[in-house]
Amino acid sequence: MRVKECFCPSSQEQALALLAELGDALQICAGGTDLLVMLRKGKTEAPFLMDISGLDLSGIREEEDHISIGALATLTDVQESPLLNKEPYRFLQRAAGWVGSPQIRNAATLAGNLCTGIPSADTSTPLLALDARVRLASVRRTREIPLTGFFLAPRKTALEADEMVTEVLLPRFPSGDYRTEFRKVGTRKELFISIFHIASLLEMEGPLVKRARFAMGVMAPVPVRLFRTEELLTGKSLTPALIDEALETMKTEVHPRTSRHASKEYRMMLAENLLHRFLTEPPEGAEGGNLC
C-alpha cells in the first residue's frame, strides 16, 4: 500500500488530534528504525505516517519522585545521560548500548523500543526490573501504567489506537549497595537480535538480599519479571542451596519456545547459567555486555 501522507505535528495536541481522527491508519514514526524495515518488508501497512520528532518530548529529566525519559530520547541519549550513570540504572545504559549499532542507537528511541512489543526488545528487561511505568496520552485522557502491564503479546502492547507514549518513568531509588547486570545472547558479537536477554538487580544489606529484581526476554511471549524468584531471595543470604532453589523457581516462571534462532532447551540453559553466574558473583559495579 502506498503511504499517502506523512504528518509532522509541532505540538502534542496536534499529534493527539491526528491519532484520534485516523487511529490505526496512522503509524507513528519515532526513530523509524523498526517501522521503516517493517514497511519495506510489507509486514505492516500505513496509509498515513506521523513523524513525531517535532514534539517537545526529548530529554531525560529528574523530577521529584521519578526520572522521566521523553518519548524522543534516543538510545544514545540514554547511554550518555549522567542521570542514569549511577546505580541502579547503569544496566539500562548497558542494554541501550547493545542495541543494534551506533547508527541505530542515534536514531532509535527508548519508547520506540518498547512500542515494537517484540520479546527481543533489549531495554524491556532492565526497565521491567526497575519497575518502570509508561505514560500514555490521547485526546480522551492521560494514563500511567506499569510496564508489566504494557506487553500483551508479541508485537501487541496496551496502546490503544488513539494513544501514544509520551514518557517512560523510572522510580527513584534510595542509596544502597546495588549490583546490576544486563546480558544478551545472540549469534555474533555485534549488531544482532537477542535470542535471550536478562536484566538482574540486587540490593545487598551486608550478607543479606534486601531487594532482588530479575527480568528475562525471549523466554515467554512477552518479556517477564521473575516475581517468585525475587521473593524467595529477599531477606536471605545467597548460599549455594538457596541459589539452586532460585534456579528451580526461575524455571517455573518462564516458558521458552523453540524458534529458528534457538531451541527452548538452549534458552533455558542460558537462563540458568547466566542467573547462576550473577547470583554467585554479583558484580561490584554494573556489568553488561553481549555473549555469543
Binding site: 509532522c8 514514526c29 521503516l36 524495515v37 544514545t76 551506533p102 542515534n106 549488531l191
Partner: protein, 159 residues
C-alpha cells in the same frame, strides 16, 4: 512535501515523498552516490551519513525527519586530491579493497574522533561496529585509525 535541510554545509530544498528515505533523496535527487545502497535494512552501514554530527543509517531514515537538520556525507571531509588525513592513513595502510564500505566507515570514525580524539582500540572497534566490510577483516582499518590517533596525540604533545 518540500523539505529544507543542509547538506555538506549548503542549504537544500527537496520535494520528498511521504515515505522517502534519506538514502534515495541523497542518491537520486542530489546525486551524492558516495552514500551506498547496501542491505537497505539498517544492517550494513554502507549508507551511513552524519546527521548533526552523528552517524545514522540513511536507508531507514525518513527524509521528512531530516528537515531542518544538517547532513554530512564523505564529501564534507575529503575529495580526490584533497583527502582527509584519516583517508590518507587508510590509503597508506591498504585498509580497503573494493571500497564499498569506505565512506560509511570513514564517517563513523570521524564522528567518534570529533567526540573523543583519543579513543582506545576497543572504542574504535565499537564505533565502526555498524559498518560491515566484506573484504578486509577490519584489521588494517583499525590499524589505520589507531595510527591516525597516535600521530595526532604526538603532534599535540609537541605543541
Amino acid at each position: 512535501m518540500l523539505i529544507h535541510f543542509h547538506v555538506n554545509g549548503k542549504a537544500c530544498a527537496v520535494d520528498a515523498a511521504p515515505d522517502e528515505k534519506l538514502l534515495d533523496t541523497l542518491r537520486e535527487k542530489l546525486q551524492i552516490t558516495s552514500v551506498k545502497r547496501g542491505c537497505e535494512n539498517g544492517d550494513c552501514g554502507a549508507c551511513t551519513v552524519l546527521l548533526d554530527g552523528r552517524p545514522v543509517a540513511s536507508c531507514i531514515f525518513l527524509t521528512v525527519k531530516a528537515r531542518n537538520h544538517s547532513i554530512q556525507t564523505i564529501e564534507a571531509f575529503g575529495e580526490p586530491g584533497h583527502l582527509h588525513p584519516l583517508q590518507e592513513k587508510f590509503r597508506a595502510h591498504g585498509a580497503f579493497q573494493c571500497g564499498f564500505c569506505a565512506p560509511g566507515v570513514t564517517l563513523s570514525a570521524i564522528s567518534l574522533l570529533n567526540q573523543n580524539p583519543t579513543p582506545t582500540e576497543e572504542e574504535v572497534r565499537r564505533a565502526i561496529s555498524g559498518n560491515l566490510c566484506r573484504c578486509s577483516g577490519y584489521v588494517q582499518i583499525v590499524e589505520a585509525i589507531m595510527d591516525y590517533v597516535e600521530e595526532r596525540r604526538a603532534a599535540r604533545e609537541e605543541l
